[in-house]
């Protein structure tokens, strides 16, 4: 009998969810920071996603890939939080006044800061597609699964998001 949230990885004995945690925690936090307007809540969202996956236990093992489950949870929790706080703030704030400012500063290179700042100006869905694809290295199909949309929609969002990023970055030159 497996304990909740645990499974054997091929050729090993590590619990599957813990493997996802060790491997992906940092990238998932970065993803959440890009998706929400209060980056300081990113860690809480990711932890909540892992707790939820752990608590799902057998149900998770039978129905879903732990990594996909956690990714989807992070996206949905971020989206849920955003909807509740839709009144709170608009684009310019995070880079200046919250902890996120230090976070982005910590990237340490002006080019990179520009990219992240431009990414944050994209519409929510485009931003999520770009982040899942290029931060978590998900395939188009995996991105579609995480967002629960079609692969065609992922391609459209990606295409538009990258075009907008390109335009924004060119304008800065």
């Amino acid at each position: 009998m497996l304990t909740p949230g645990r499974d054997a990885t091929p050729g090993g004995h590590e619990p599957a969810l813990e493997v996802v945690f060790r491997r992906d925690y940092a990238r998932l936090v970065a993803l959440a920071r890009l998706l929400i307007d209060r980056p300081e809540e990113a860690e809480e969202i990711v932890q909540e996603a892992f707790v939820r996956a752990y608590a799902a236990g057998d149900r998770l093992e039978q129905r879903d890939d732990p990594r996909a489950y956690v990714q989807r949870s992070v996206v949905n929790l971020a989206r849920d939080g955003l909807r509740r706080r839709r009144t709170v703030r608009r684009a310019p704030v995070p880079l200046v006044v919250s902890g996120d400012g230090a976070d982005v500063d910590a990237i340490g290179d002006e080019n990179r800061r520009e990219i992240v700042a431009a990414l944050r100006t994209l519409p929510e869905r485009q931003r999520a597609c770009v982040a899942l694809r290029y931060l978590l290295d998900l395939s188009t199909a995996e991105t579609a699964l995480a967002l629960e949309i079609s692969t065609g929609a992922v391609k459209t969002h990606l295409s538009r998001g990258l075009a907008a990023l390109q335009a924004a970055l060119e304008d800065l030159r």
Binding site: P4, E18, F21, A26, V29, A30, E43, E44, I45, Q47, E48, V51, R52, Y54, A55, A56, R59, R72, N76, L77, R79, D80, G81, R84, R86, T87, V88, R90, V93, L95, V96, V97, G99, A102, D103, V104, A106, I107, G108, D109, E110, R112, R113, I115, V116, A117, A131, Y134, L135, T140, E148, I149, S150, A153, T156, S159, L162, A168, L169, D171
Partner: protein, 529 residues
């Protein structure tokens, strides 16, 4: 256009080329992730919490406070908490409540049936945390104060916004599962419509979140409707518990693809139906906690003195909505207070900050409040609190101590736009409605530059590759003016200590102005710092 619709899929051969921006993007995102480290014991905390939830034990909550020790290093501290709120006041007396159950706490005795304190008595103390505040809206009062017309059944999001504007003076006050769908859709799914809601508290985030509302609900109609609803009806499990009816569609916020107008995330949810009130939430644990709070208000939000005072104060002032944020004892003892604005005396961190607005007469009322643990502590901070407001002269705020609270009340005809500078350092500004973070704030009118002569374009400003503070300021106010002309309303505009701006606006009017007039300047200015 619905981009999530399969029918809109582009051809498969439209693949995404690995253009140069992708390489830069990958590098930047990798750098962002590389700055995140998981504390050593975080996984163990997740295991404990996950096991507790799986076993239906008392839930704790993992809270991670990110500490930015330097601009280059991000450290994180994980605190596992079993309770999220201060210990409620001790039991006082026994009384029988109009709701039909005994209130051993006596906290609700002599409170009117429609008081906000009584509303607080239906949510557990853990519903407010330092990370997630409460939002209280009194729709019945707002309808009475404004005379706003009820919404038609086929309301669109645009009409919702107009209705919100009419009731609360901002167009995004009514959002979430119960307000984004049309009234007919909510009614068809849950057996009641938003027009039947008189008061509502929105609480929590993510899995542990929901609503508690009072109103004119018909339990029989609700029971019939939810049983017959085609998508979720087949999964319905209904039980009677402690005089309440609990409709339960899924345990613990399980995500599904069964999305409906109300359940836009595919979470079945749980609905508690009482006499004149309902609660909508997502987990078994939260249902039990709500029922426990209802049966014994000593363990409810009404049992937290500072929260009760904040809500009661707003209620007594005739406000139609208010937000309450909690700062618990732990935060008070472990977090260094922010440096005060120049010229402002230091102020102790309160237990709660709260504020809201309403229109109890022909004038609008905006109220801000801090609550401390004792009257002595409140009195000691009155001078510092009073020093926040002298620059506001039209109208002159009324500043006073009210028990353990410090209150600033503004009365003015029409909507009140507050601007000012803030020195926060502990949390992000709130920005809802007519409420700015006023903790250690200097509130004063911001000067708008005269834009009548020249309005440089972004290209002109960026021609030399730099953005001066003056250029940034002109571009910002040009954007504001454009957005206002497009119909946007800026409820708050505050200037940050480094010369940037925080603003809160409603609706989507003027969104184009941001891109056309300010976005590139904003990004350049911000990234240059």
């Amino acid at each position: 256009m619905n981009l999530d619709d399969d029918s809109m899929d582009p051809p498969d051969d439209l693949d995404i080329p690995e253009d140069p921006v992708v390489g830069r993007l990958r590098t930047a995102l990798t750098a962002l992730a590389d700055r995140v480290t998981a504390p050593d014991d975080l996984w163990e905390s997740i295991e404990r919490e996950g096991s507790a939830r799986a076993g239906g034990q008392q839930r704790g909550k993992i809270v991670l406070a990110a500490l930015l020790a330097t601009a280059a290093v991000i450290a994180a501290v994980v605190v596992v908490r079993l309770t999220d709120a201060p210990t409620p006041d001790p039991v006082i007396t026994m009384a029988t409540e109009p709701d039909g159950h005994e209130d051993g706490s006596g906290l609700l005795t002599d409170t009117p049936a429609d008081s906000w304190v009584r509303l607080l008595g239906k949510l557990p103390a853990g519903a407010i945390t330092p990370q997630t505040g409460l939002s209280i809206q009194d729709l019945a009062r707002a309808r009475a104060q404004t005379g706003a017309e009820p919404l038609p059944d086929t309301t669109t999001e645009e009409a919702w916004r107009a209705h919100s504007q009419a009731l609360f003076g901002r167009d995004d006050a009514l959002t979430g599962e119960l307000f984004l769908p049309s009234p007919a859709e909510v009614r068809a799914e849950l057996g009641f419509g938003p027009e039947q809601i008189d008061q509502i508290i929105t609480w929590g985030v993510g899995e542990h979140s929901g609503y508690v509302a009072t109103g004119r609900f018909d339990p029989t109609t609700i029971a019939t409707t939810v049983a017959a609803e085609p998508t979720w009806g087949p999964e319905l499990d209904t039980r009677e518990q402690d005089g309440l009816t609990v409709h339960r569609w899924s345990r613990d916020a399980r995500l599904t693809n069964k999305r409906t107008p109300v359940r836009d995330l595919g979470v079945g949810g749980q609905l508690i139906v009482g006499d004149g009130w309902i609660a909508w939430t997502k987990t078994d644990a939260d249902v039990e906690a709500i029922i426990d709070a209802f049966l014994d208000p000593a363990g409810s939000l009404a049992g937290i003195a500072a929260v009760r005072s904040a809500a009661d104060s707003a209620d007594q002032a005739g406000l139609t909505e208010a937000e309450i944020l909690l700062r618990g004892p732990e935060e008070r003892s472990t977090t260094a207070p922010p440096a005060p604005q120049p010229g402002l005396p230091a102020i102790d961190q309160p237990l709660t900050t709260s504020g809201g607005s309403g229109r109890p007469s022909t004038d609008s009322v905006v109220q801000f409040r801090l609550d401390y643990g004792t009257e002595v502590e409140a009195a000691a901070n009155l001078a510092a609190f009073t020093a926040t407001w002298p620059a506001i002269t039209d109208p002159v705020p009324q500043v006073a101590r009210d028990g353990t609270g410090l209150v600033a009340t503004f009365t003015a005809p029409g909507a009140l736009q507050l601007t000012g500078t803030y020195a926060d350092g502990l949390e992000s500004p709130l920005g809802f409605g007519y409420f700015i973070t006023f903790f250690n704030v200097r509130a004063e009118p911001l000067d708008r530059p005269d834009l009548s002569d020249s309005r440089p374009t972004q290209a002109e400003i960026l021609a030399d590759g730099t953005v001066t503070d003056d250029e940034y300021r002109v571009a910002f106010w040009t954007f504001v003016e454009c957005a206002e002309e497009a119909g946007a309303s800026f409820s708050t505009i505050t200037e940050t200590p480094d010369g940037g701006y925080f603003y809160s606006t409603t609706g989507t009017q003027g969104d184009d102005c941001y891109g056309q007039l300010f976005m590139q300047v904003d990004m350049t200015w911000q990234t240059s710092r």
